[in-house]
C-alpha cells in the first residue's frame, strides 16, 4: 500500500499481546523483514581462498560486535540478560557450522554470503519445525547471528534500532535480541511486532528497558506505512494505527492525568499513612532482592514487611552463615531502625534452587515446600536461623515462617530456633536474646486454627495470594480457571476476619502482604477488617498511602461489615470500587 493510498484512511485498532506496559504515540519506522537481498553469484576456483578469507574476517567482526553488545547489555541490565549472547558467540564459533559453510563453498562455488544464508537457513527451518514453543523461539538466536554474519559480509549496517535518529515507534515482523539490545529508549518510543510472545527476547528486553511493546499482531508490519502515526498501549496490548484526533485527545488527557497524579503521589513520601480520622496503617515493603532496598526510601515505605530470602539460594553453592548474616544485617542497617521481617526459606512449588535438589512432584504447590522443606532439611534451616539470630543482635529484625499449616510446625521451628540460640551462646557468639516471630497465614488450615498458633508467635502475616489460591482451589496461572480467582470471595473475607479477630484477642498484630494489600480497591476493605499493617512492593506504596489518607476509618469499617454480610464476590468488589470512587476518584481513574 502506498503512502498516498493510506491518506484519509480511518483509524485502525488492533489487539495484540501487551508485553511491556506504557503508552506511546509517534511516527512509525517500519523495518522490512526481508528487505535485505543477499547477493548471489558463482565464483571461480581461484576465488575460493578469497571467499574463505572474507568469511573469516566477517566472523571476527561479528564476534567483536556481539561481545560489544553483550558488554553494553551487562552494564545496562546485568549479567542475566547478557548471558544470552554467550550462545550467540558460540554460534559464531560453531566449528560444524563453519566447516559446513567452507565445504559447501568449495563444492558449489558460490559466493560466501549466499552459502552462509543457505546453510543457516537449513538450521532455522529445522528449528521452525520444533514443536515446543519456547524452543522454537530460539530460531531467532541462530537467525540473528547468521544474518549479522551475512550483513557483515555484504557490508551492510546491522543495528537497526541503534541507527535511528529521531524518536519513533519501531515496527517490524520481529525484533532480534541484538536489535533490542542496541536500542536507545529515548529514540525508540515503543516496539510493535507481528510475532513474538512474552518470553521472546524482545519482550524481556523491552520490559527491562521500560519501553512499551505489543507483539503478536500477525501482519501489522505490512499494515503500517512508514510515517503513519501509531499509538501503542503496552499494558492493554492495543495498537491504534492513524488514531483519530478524538482518540489521541483521550489518550493525551489520560497520559497527562497519570503523570500529574504520579507526580502528586511522590510528594507523599514523608507523610504519615493514616486515615482522615487519624487511624494509622503503616505500609512496609516487600523485597525480593537487596538492590531493591534503595526504593524503600524513594517511595516512602516503613521498613520491610517481607524480605524474601530465596535469592540467596539460587546459586549452586548454598550461602553460608556469614554470607547470610551480612545480607540480613545490611538490609536492617539500610532501613534506618525500621523493622525488617525476614521470611525463612520458601522454596518448592514453582520456586526451585540451583543448589537444592527437590524431586519433581505431581502437585508441587501441595508438596514438600516452604516450612515443610525446611523442617525436613534441618541442617540447612539451622544455618539460616543462626544467621538471623546473629544479624538480629542490636538490630530491628523479626522473622516469619512461610506456609504454616498447623501449630506443631510452629513449635518444631521454634524449638530449632531455641537450639540455635543456645548453640550460639555456648560458642560465645553475640545473638538476639529475643526476636519477634511471625507466621505466614496462607493456608486455610492455619487461618482456621490461628487461636492455637497465637500463643507461640508475636504476629501474623496473611499471604493473600496463596490464601486465595488454596481456599478457592484455584491455580491463578492456569488461564482456564484464572477468572475464578476472586480476592473478594466470602470465604476469603471470613478467613481474614477470623485471623484479625483472634489476633485482637491475643493482642497480636496482623499484617497483610500480597496483591490484595497493593490494590487501591481492596486495601480499604482490609483496613476495615482490622488489619494493622500492609506490606507491598515499593512502587505501589505512594498510591496506597494516598488512598489511605483520603479514607475515613469509619467508612472502612462499614465496608467490611457489609462485605461480611454479602454473598456475591462481584457485589463485594463493586462495594469496594464504590468506596474508592467516592474517596479517591483520581486513583480509580489511574487503575482502570
Amino acid at each position: 500500500m502506498s503512502v498516498e493510498a493510506s491518506e484519509g484512511l480511518e483509524e485502525l485498532v488492533l489487539q495484540g499481546i501487551g508485553v511491556s506496559p506504557g503508552v506511546a504515540v509517534g511516527d512509525a519506522v517500519v523495518f522490512a523483514s526481508e528487505g535485505f537481498a543477499v547477493p548471489e553469484r558463482n565464483i571461480s576456483e581461484s576465488e575460493i581462498p578469497l571467499e574463505i578469507a572474507r568469511f573469516e574476517e566477517a566472523l571476527i567482526k561479528t564476534r567483536h560486535q556481539i561481545s560489544e553488545i553483550q558488554h553494553n547489555v551487562e552494564i545496562m541490565l546485568g549479567s542475566e540478560h547478557a548471558g544470552i549472547f554467550d550462545a550467540h558467540l558460540l554460534v559464531v564459533d560453531d566449528r560444524y557450522f563453519i566447516e559446513e559453510v567452507i565445504r559447501s563453498l568449495r563444492e558449489n562455488r558460490r559466493n560466501v554470503e549466499s552459502i552462509v544464508n543457505e546453510v543457516s537457513g537449513n538450521y532455522t527451518s529445522m528449528l521452525a519445525k520444533v514443536e515446543d514453543d519456547y524452543l522454537r523461539e530460539r530460531a531467532a538466536d541462530v537467525h540473528d547471528v547468521t544474518r549479522r554474519i551475512v550483513k557483515n559480509l555484504a557490508g551492510e549496517g546491522m543495528d537497526r534500532l541503534n541507527c535511528l535518529e529521531h524518536p519513533c515507534i519501531a515496527v517490524a515482523h520481529d525484533f532480534s535480541p541484538s536489535d533490542t539490545a542496541g536500542m536507545n529508549r529515548d529514540i525508540v518510543q515503543a516496539l510493535v511486532a507481528d510475532i513474538g510472545s512474552s518470553t521472546s527476547h524482545a519482550a524481556i528486553m523491552a520490559r527491562a528497558l521500560e519501553v512499551p511493546a505489543v507483539v503478536g499482531l500477525h501482519d501489522v508490519s505490512t499494515r503500517i506505512n512508514a510515517g503513519d502515526t501509531v499509538l501503542v498501549d503496552g499494558a492493554k496490548g492495543v495498537v491504534v494505527i492513524r488514531p483519530s484526533s478524538a482518540t489521541l485527545l483521550t489518550y493525551a488527557q489520560r497520559a497527562e492525568e497519570l503523570k500529574m497524579i504520579l507526580g502528586e503521589l511522590e510528594t507523599l513520601k514523608d507523610e504519615q499513612s493514616e486515615t482522615k480520622d487519624g487511624y494509622c496503617v503503616p505500609i512496609a515493603a516487600n523485597i525480593e532482592l537487596p538492590n531493591e532496598i534503595v526504593s524503600i526510601d524513594r517511595f516512602g515505605a516503613q521498613g520491610i514487611g517481607l524480605f524474601r530470602t530465596e535469592f540467596l539460594f539460587q546459586k549452586k553453592q548454598l550461602p553460608d552463615e556469614e554470607t547470610q548474616i551480612q545480607v540480613y544485617s545490611e538490609a536492617a542497617d539500610q532501613c534506618g531502625g525500621n523493622e525488617v521481617v525476614i521470611r525463612t526459606l520458601d522454596l518448592g512449588g514453582d520456586k526451585c534452587s540451583a543448589g537444592i535438589r527437590v524431586d519433581q512432584e505431581a502437585n508441587p504447590f501441595l508438596g514438600w515446600r516452604a516450612i515443610r522443606f525446611c523442617l525436613g532439611s534441618v541442617k540447612l534451616f539451622k544455618v539460616q536461623l543462626r544467621a538471623i539470630l546473629r544479624a538480629a543482635a542490636g538490630r530491628n529484625i523479626a522473622m516469619m515462617y512461610p506456609m504454616i499449616s498447623c501449630v506443631s510446625e510452629v513449635l518444631e521451628a521454634n524449638t530449632l530456633l531455641e537450639e540455635c540460640r543456645q548453640e550460639l551462646k555456648s560458642e560465645g557468639l553475640p545473638c538476639a536474646d529475643r526476636i519477634k516471630i511471625g507466621v505466614l497465614i496462607e493456608v486455610p488450615s492455619a487461618a482456621l486454627t490461628v487461636d492455637l498458633i497465637a500463643p507461640h508467635v508475636d504476629f501474623f502475616s496473611i499471604g493473600t495470594n496463596d490464601l486465595i489460591q488454596y481456599t478457592l482451589a484455584i491455580d491463578r496461572v492456569n488461564e482456564k480457571v484464572a477468572h475464578l480467582y476472586r480476592p473478594t470471595h466470602a470465604s476469603v473475607i471470613r478467613l481474614i476476619h477470623q485471623v484479625v479477630q483472634t489476633g485482637q484477642q491475643y493482642r497480636i498484630p496482623v499484617m497483610v502482604c500480597g496483591q490484595t494489600a497493593a490494590s487501591p480497591e481492596l486495601a480499604p476493605l482490609l483496613i476495615g477488617l482490622g488489619v494493622n499493617r500492609l506490606s507491598i512492593s515499593p512502587p505501589s506504596v505512594p498510591m496506597i498511602k494516598d488512598v489511605i489518607r483520603n479514607l475515613h476509618y469509619s467508612d472502612c469499617r462499614r465496608l467490611a461489615e457489609d462485605a461480611l454480610r454479602m454473598s456475591s464476590s462481584e457485589d463485594i468488589a463493586a462495594e469496594c470500587r464504590a468506596l474508592l470512587k467516592k474517596t479517591s476518584p483520581e486513583i480509580l481513574e489511574l487503575i482502570s
Binding site: L90, V91, Y96, F97, L135, V142, K316, C352
Partner: protein
C-alpha cells in the same frame, strides 16, 4: 593411539524451558574441553554436543529423553561433566 572408550547414557531434560540457548551454551562449553567425540541423540537424529546450532535443533524440551555418547580417551570425564549439567537442570531453577 591411546585408550579409546565409548560410553552411552540416557538423560531426561528436567529444566523448565529445555535445551534452549543458555543450556546449549553450557553443553558446548563443557564438551569443548574434551578431545572425545560427544554426540547427543534423540529419536534417530544425532548432533555433536560441540555444535550449538546442532544442539538447538535437537528439540530437547522438558521431559525429552536424550541419549549421550562419548567416544575417546577422556570419554569418562566428558560424560561425568555432561551428566552433572543434566542432573542439575543446567543450573536454571
Amino acid at each position: 593411539m591411546g585408550d579409546t572408550k565409548k560410553i552411552v547414557r540416557e538423560f531426561t531434560v528436567e529444566n523448565q524451558y529445555g535445551i534452549h540457548a543458555r543450556p546449549a551454551a553450557l553443553l558446548v562449553k563443557a564438551a569443548g574441553k574434551y578431545s572425545s567425540e560427544i554426540l547427543i541423540g534423540k529419536e534417530g537424529s544425532e548432533v555433536s554436543a560441540k555444535s550449538i546450532m546442532g544442539l538447538l535443533t535437537i528439540e530437547g524440551h522438558q521431559g525429552a529423553c536424550l541419549s549421550v555418547q562419548t567416544v575417546g580417551e577422556d570419554a569418562e570425564e566428558a560424560m561425568a561433566e555432561i551428566a552433572e549439567l543434566f542432573e542439575n537442570k543446567f543450573f536454571e531453577e
